[in-house]
């Protein structure tokens, strides 16, 4: 009798639930707190997850990688791109309430870039920020969108150094205690208030712990290293993956025994890039011999990726080399990749010994990842090449011109491209509309929470 009543009650409830109009909405909701976890430091350059939440650049890149106005509303160049002037957006304020001025921008950029900058000098002229250089700066608007040129307040209104990170971005810092960075929405953000009221970033969390927290609803956005992408997909995580946003490359010294470019070319032909992509990165990276990915240029195939031991012997021409030192700027998969590269080199007749990256002497070879920020091939080429030495600057943005500049840079063999790597994040069920910026960083300001009030 009791069971019959219970069954009737359950059926009645089900019928009532089915009859009720169910909620469906697609506009993003305001409110709630996003919980994000990261293995690294949220402030680290160039890809700390908090940086683009708190700071803005003079320019920014849209999802296609096209340059768009940000703190600057417009820009013009004179004198064949040797001089640029950027007009500041009026009415923008830092989180402490002080106005954004051209002087504040100049001070921030001078602090961001003490040396090897894309410009020779930066000046504040009224509401303009003016850049000058003896060399042409055709890619300056795109370069200024990079993470390294974000604008932070360096001097407060009373002439003091600010206590903490103060920018103009969608979120402002509330606290950073015990590895937890608390950010709150900037109500007067020039781009509009973000949807979430707050973002909590838990730093220095292992990937395993991040995934565990995601599974129990304690985290909304967690990292997925490239080598674990397949595992994440097998576990049915909701994963956002970008096009390639970084390049795994071997930086080669051009001194000592490696001053001979033929030897450096032989090193490039020694490495089995496909094995790195397929084994170390579980087929989630793309073997490459070009600086710029195919998705950016369409001509990456002009740089063959195949290992060629016959060419190695031909290039070496019987030259003996002393043991080369190999360091790794990173951990995890990069350490495994370095071991495989050392093995490849040994098979090709080179001896490579892994050394500590923090050693006093610079290693002959350094395995590192280089960010590929942006969607304009000429600007990315300049940025990548600038990060390892003399910049390769294409005369114009035509594919042929970019190809010639890239070919010229790679023929020096001071940087050996190996694998293009995407960036990936997994999200919880309550996160809506989360996109990834052109550099692969989650655009948390554009995300909202399904269960927000």
């Amino acid at each position: 009798m009791r069971w019959t009543v219970l069954r009737r009650f359950a059926i009645s409830c089900a019928v009532v639930l089915l009859a009720l109009p169910l909620a469906a909405r697609t506009r993003p909701h305001y409110g709630g707190a996003l919980h994000v976890e990261t293995e690294g430091d949220p402030w680290q350059k160039p890809d700390g997850i908090a940086r683009r939440l708190v700071f803005d650049g003079l320019t920014t890149l849209d999802a296609r990688g096209t340059v768009q106005a940000a703190l600057a509303t417009g820009w013009e160049s004179d004198n064949a791109d040797h001089r640029w002037q950027f007009r500041l957006r009026p009415g923008v304020h830092f989180h402490d309430g002080s106005p954004l001025t051209s002087t504040a921008v100049m001070q921030a950029l001078n602090l961001d870039c003490p040396a090897n900058c894309p410009w020779a000098a930066v000046h504040a002229v009224g509401s303009m920020v003016v850049f000058t250089s003896d060399s042409a700066m055709p890619n300056l608007p795109a370069l200024l969108a990079e993470d390294q040129f974000l604008i932070a307040l360096t001097v407060t209104a009373d002439g003091k150094t600010p206590d903490g990170n103060i920018g103009t971005g969608a979120f402002q810092v509330t606290s950073f205690n015990n590895g937890v960075l608390e950010l709150t929405a900037n109500e007067i953000c020039w781009q509009g208030r973000p949807f979430a009221d707050a973002v909590e970033i838990r730093a220095h969390r292992s990937v395993r712990d991040q995934w565990l927290d995601l599974s129990i609803g304690r985290a909304d956005v967690v990292e997925v290293p490239v080598e674990m992408l397949r595992q994440a997909q097998q576990q049915k995580l909701t994963v956002l993956v970008t096009a390639p946003t970084s390049l795994l490359a071997l930086q080669v010294a051009d001194t000592g025994s490696l001053a001979n470019p033929m030897l450096r070319a032989a090193l490039a032909a020694s490495i089995d890039r496909s094995a790195l992509a397929n084994v170390i990165f579980q087929k989630q990276g793309e073997a490459t011999a070009s600086l710029l990915p195919q998705s950016l240029t369409g001509f990456a195939f002009l740089f063959p990726v195949d290992r060629d031991l016959n060419k190695v012997h031909e290039l070496r021409g019987g030259l003996a080399t002393p043991t080369l030192t190999l360091s790794v700027d990173g951990d995890g998969a990069l350490l495994l990749a370095a071991q495989r590269i050392a093995l490849n080199l040994k098979e090709a007749g080179f001896n490579a010994q892994e050394v500590d990256a923090g050693g006093a002497q610079r290693a002959d070879l350094m395995l590192r990842t280089i960010p590929l920020e942006g969607g304009e091939a000429a600007a990315v080429l300049e940025s990548v090449s600038r990060s390892v030495g003399a910049p390769a600057i294409a005369l114009d943005s035509s594919p042929a011109s970019v190809y010639r500049a890239e070919r010229g840079f790679l023929d020096r063999h001071t940087l050996i491209p190996l694998v293009d790597l995407p960036r990936a994040y997994a999200t919880g069920a309550r996160v809506r509309d989360l996109g990834l910026d052109a550099d692969g960083i989650p655009d948390l300001a554009g995300a909202s929470l399904e269960d927000a009030p």
């Binding site: 009859a19 009720l20 109009p21 169910l22 909620a23 469906a24 909405r25 697609t26 506009r27 993003p28 909701h29 305001y30 849209d62 999802a63 296609r64 990688g65 096209t66 009415g91 109500e187 007067i188 953000c189 020039w190 781009q191 509009g192 208030r193 973000p194 949807f195 096009a243 195919q294 998705s295 950016l296 240029t297 369409g298 001509f299 195939f301 002009l302 969607g375 091939a377 035509s398 594919p399 042929a400 190809y403 809506r432 509309d433 300001a445 554009g446």
Partner: protein, 406 residues
Amino acid sequence: MKTMKLFRWAAMGLGMLLAMRGSALATSPWEQPAGALAEQIAAILGSGQAHLTIRNLSRIPNDDVPAIRKLLAQDLKEHGVTVSDDESANSIRVTLSENARERLWVAEVIEGSVTQVAMVRLDSDGAQHAQTAGGLTLHTETILRLNEPVLAVLEIANGMVVLEPEQIVFETRVPNGWREQSRTGIGQKQPLPRDPKGILVPEGGTAFEAWLAGTQCRGSYDPAQSPGQGTVSCYASDDPWPLLQSEQAAVPAKAFFNSARNYFTGVITPSVDEDPRAFYAAAWIPRAVGGAALVVGGIDGKVLMIESGISKPIAGTRDWGSDFAVIHSGCGAGAQIIASGSGEAAADSLRAYELPALEAVPVSVPLEVGGTVMGIWSAPDGKSVFATVRRADDQYEVDRVTALCN
């Protein structure tokens, strides 16, 4: 005599072949890039013979590759380069490639141990969308494609006013669409909320009003009188926005918009509901018994019908997104709701519904729009609706949606 006849037939055949080739080439999208690439190749090789290979790394259908090869061979010949099967000759290796933005054709010209490269870039083609079935058939026509977000558009005579978050743009009609003539800054004092919203309302003749969060504008645009120039005057305002398509309502209603958010506060003047609640979208729909009811899409996801001061939930709206508008198609009940799809859809859809009682009944199949619907509103005559769609490439397009009775 016989020779003359043969000559005449041969001439006719040749003429027909040439005409066919001319017509094929005239319609081929590959003619221009093939010609440009052939010219560059010839500049490298000079005249002579070369072995041509071609591979396709792009989304161009493989069926098109033989035609492209044929065009290239013909264009090379015109520049003095004869394509040969002799593999010992100079080689031309053409790759039909692409990047995330555009197509790229690359020719590697190999002379002995020296390889030189030639390239031409091509624009990627756009997609057309159309779908049929159901009680009525929805059709879309893309009328504008822009890099900036579009909040609303309004057609005036042979002109169009486009409301962007920070500017009002004036366009004039040209044979193949619309051409921007001028743009005027709105000059908001306060930043717009993310996911901004705005409407354009005709005010008779060439006049219009624009409503955005915290701002109202009045303007006029008459392409016939002042080509390229419209007038706009904007000022800060928290006045309520008119609820469009309210002819059937007893009194024109207006709703207050929350200028710091992306929704209306729920307060409507004159009051239509004893229990106002915040909403994203509202539309007047004629009732079979006469008059009109207000359909409201609440921020809690529930869709309500407000009639005679009483609001009642509408069932069957679980597939609705937050945006909808009314179309007076003349089909079925005469008017339908066109609603966006629910969920986080990169490939959103539009679907027509009727509300015979308090239940939404789909009367068309979902119409894919190739992106995310950012807004829907009714045209001033009510016979079509406009939808703004953000495409995966971050471009915005404005589609006119019409309904045909089946």
